[in-house]
């Protein structure tokens, strides 16, 4: 039972354009949603998060949007850079139970 779904296994974007990574979830009880970035042979690194009571959070080139009615969140990267090429994981956290649930990941390739 996948509670967090990333339906696009990969995405290819031109340098300087916008990258939009999508994520759907099934459980309304999550308290936070997070995005992690992972390079090969490294652990995931935290990118940005959003509380379930907000609908937008911005940090530099990264913005996360949360649509609670659709149980959908997205990560926007503007402008995309070649160094952004990595696997991006969407994750959701319920504070009670203290478990982070991950999606399957989306491989982003930014072409120069």
């Amino acid at each position: 039972d996948q509670q967090v779904k990333q339906n696009s296994p990969s995405l290819s974007v031109q340098e300087g354009r916008i990258s939009i990574l999508n994520c759907d979830y099934t459980n309304s009880m999550f308290d936070y949603f997070l995005w992690y970035k992972k390079y090969p042979a490294e652990g995931p690194t935290f990118l940005i998060s959003i509380s379930s009571i907000k609908d937008k959070n911005e940090d530099g080139r990264f913005t996360v949007f949360l649509n609670k009615s659709a149980k959908h969140l997205s990560l926007h990267i503007v402008p995309s850079q070649p160094g952004d090429s990595a696997v991006y994981f969407c994750a959701a956290l319920k504070e009670y139970g203290n478990k982070l649930v991950f999606g399957a990941g989306t491989i982003l390739r930014v072409k120069s």
């Binding site: 936070y32 995931p44 203290n98 982070l100 991950f102």
Partner: protein, 112 residues
């Protein structure tokens, strides 16, 4: 900067061997986690621990056990390694409250 250190980057073990994966964090975090990452499946939680001596099963605990004798160290044990346990293993820690997990660099385990 919180550091989560996994003792081995790469391991090759034989089927039936007992395997220990070690994880150490240096920030006095109560919570520690073991995940495995497989292509198309994202990160799946194996076990986690709220504090010393405490442990709870995650989503895929079968074939694994854990040990948390000291706060800074969380060990994952494969009692009798099998080929389907070939994977990337990721350890993480976090403070009791707040949304951020810090991950180690991972251990790529191959069981032959």
């Amino acid at each position: 900067d919180v550091k989560v250190t996994q003792s081995s980057r790469y391991l090759v073990k034989r089927t039936g061997e007992k395997v220990f994966l070690e994880c150490v964090q240096d920030m006095d975090h109560e919570n520690m986690f073991w995940y495995r990452q497989d292509p198309g499946l994202g990160l799946r939680l194996i076990y986690f621990s709220y504090d010393v001596k405490m442990k709870e099963k995650g989503d895929i605990p079968e074939g694994y056990s854990v040990s948390r004798e000291k706060k800074e160290r969380f060990s994952l044990i494969l009692e009798s390694a099998s080929t389907n346990q070939t994977s990337m293993y990721l350890c993480a820690s976090r403070i009791r409250s707040g949304a951020g997990y810090t991950f180690g660099s991972g251990t790529r385990l191959t069981v032959v």
